[in-house]
């Protein structure tokens, strides 16, 4: 995986800059008094083009180095997660999913409920092997959002998303 890093990064950035440049066309140009040749499209054009150029340079660099055989696949250096339980191996994707769920649900379920769900599962996901303490997780998962909610909404007058919940 490591030896393709430059290739993947270069390609990804290339397509990102392409997407960006394409969308510049929809930017409206001001044509009233005081308008000059440099308008709302100019700088984005320059920035997008530079980024695309850099990604091409990176791809070229990859090509040159790959030909020279400069990318030795480093074996064993990266901590292998084999042999760990599934939960630990999937910790990163699970966390990402959990964050997405938080974001999608908070509008509907409101801050308190969503945070309780999130905290409970996130704590479990982050617990080291064999150290999952469900009761602890549950207690913190419930107490923290409630305290935060009370402090912010009632003490500091900062509203938090309510969703369909009454609180």
């Amino acid at each position: 995986m490591r030896k393709y890093k430059d290739l993947i990064t270069g390609l990804a950035v290339f397509f990102l800059s392409l997407f960006y440049l394409i969308n510049i066309r929809s930017v409206r140009v001001f044509t009233g008094a005081g308008a000059t040749a440099i308008n709302a499209r100019t700088i984005p054009l320059i920035e997008g083009s530079l980024l695309m150029l850099l990604s091409v340079i990176m791809l070229i660099r990859y090509g040159i180095n790959a030909r020279r055989g400069g990318y030795v696949s480093e074996s064993g250096k990266e901590d292998s997660l084999d042999g760990q339980p599934l939960r630990i191996r999937m910790a990163v994707p699970l966390t990402l999913c959990l964050l997405l769920i938080y974001v999608l649900a908070i509008g509907r379920l409101g801050f308190v409920l969503t945070s309780i769900i999130y905290l409970f599962f996130q704590i479990i996901i982050l617990s080291p092997n064999g150290k999952i303490r469900v009761p602890f997780a549950a207690v913190i998962a419930v107490i923290a959002p409630v305290i935060i909610y009370l402090v912010f909404v009632y003490l500091l007058n900062v509203p938090l998303p309510r969703g369909i919940m009454p609180f």
């Binding site: 008094a33 005081g34 959990l98 369909i164």
Partner: protein
């Protein structure tokens, strides 16, 4: 096994939440109980400007009058369009209002910054007059009237620069100035305070900015107003002519600050709010005193109908210039 458990449980909860939700309907507000919780007012310009000042100063006696806290926040950007975007998507529950000004609304519509006019909202009240836009020059400038400036610019077209904020009412004012014969170069110099600094620093030869922002510089002797863009001379500066009477006929920018409610707000609530505002503005002595000190004008508020009339009038005035833009 655990992963599957975790996964499906979380997704099930989230999905059920999303599905069970549906659009949260605003509970019908009982106008006779209004206000029963804090009123939020969003100022659509940044802190430190005229609108922000008037609203914050007004909020103190207004809180007393209404009996609930009045919470002021700022949502600046796009000459008020960002605030208006929020207004157009807000539930009309009678507890969130927006501060804007008649000229910004009209100018945005004129220059295309906005594709709507004031009627996307329910106006509550005009609650203050802008301290008055003025045309400023440095005190060492050889020009004493607008006419002289216009003449000088004709002699050397494009040489003199005027600092404005593109797309706003100050920009429209500069277009009107060009229409009156001036041949200035219009440049953007950011917002009011920045335009004054640009003038002080010599970057532009003149600029249009509010009296409230520049008045300290009259006293310190650094700047001089050539004229005021209001319909009548300012009470604080009776010797400064209006643009209309000194070389740019028709150049009148009377800017009024207005509180708007999301469309569909209960009319009774609007009337109640308007009544409270008018009462404070017309009767509260310390508020009137602060306003006069700041802007040299009498505190000023209008009824709901007069507010709507003022908005419509400014809109028509600006839209008449559509060929200039």
């Amino acid at each position: 096994m655990r992963k599957v458990f975790v996964f499906t449980l979380a997704i099930a909860i989230a999905l059920s939440g999303v599905w069970a939700g549906g659009a949260s309907e605003a509970a019908p507000v009982d106008p006779s109980a209004w206000p029963s919780k804090p009123v939020n007012i969003v100022v659509t310009s940044s802190a430190g400007g005229d609108g922000d000042y008037f609203m914050r100063t007004l909020s103190v006696p207004l809180e007393e009058e209404l009996g609930v806290p009045v919470v002021i926040t700022n949502l600046a950007g796009g000459n008020g369009t960002i605030g208006m975007d929020e207004l157009m998507n807000k539930e009309p529950d009678g507890y969130t209002f927006y501060v804007n000004n008649t000229c910004a609304l009209a100018a945005n519509q004129l220059t295309g910054l906005a594709d709507y006019d004031w009627s996307v909202s329910d106006p509550v009240a005009v609650f203050a007059k802008h301290s008055g836009e003025m045309l400023w020059v440095r005190s060492d400038s050889p020009y004493n009237t607008v006419e002289e400036l216009i003449e000088a610019s004709k002699a050397d077209p494009g040489k003199f620069t005027i600092g404005v904020s593109l797309g706003g009412s100050v920009y429209v004012a500069s277009l009107m100035l060009q229409n009156a014969g001036a041949e200035l170069s219009i440049v953007d110099a950011n917002d009011g305070a920045e335009r004054i600094i640009a003038l002080l620093g010599g970057q532009v030869d003149c600029c249009i900015a509010g009296y409230g922002i520049g008045k300290e510089y009259i006293e310190s002797g650094a700047l001089r107003p050539l004229c005021t863009l209001m319909a009548n001379r300012s009470a604080a500066l009776p010797d400064v002519p209006t643009a209309d009477e000194s070389g740019a006929p028709g150049l009148i920018i009377n800017n009024l600050f207005v509180i708007l409610a999301p469309k569909g707000t209960n009319p009774e609530i609007i009337e109640k709010f308007n009544a409270a505002i008018c009462k404070v503005v017309n009767e509260n002595e310390s508020y009137r005193e602060s306003v006069y000190q700041y802007s040299g004008q009498e505190a000023y508020a209008l009824s709901v109908d007069d507010t709507i009339a003022a908005l419509e009038e400014t809109k028509n005035q600006f839209m008449a210039y559509s060929d200039l833009v």
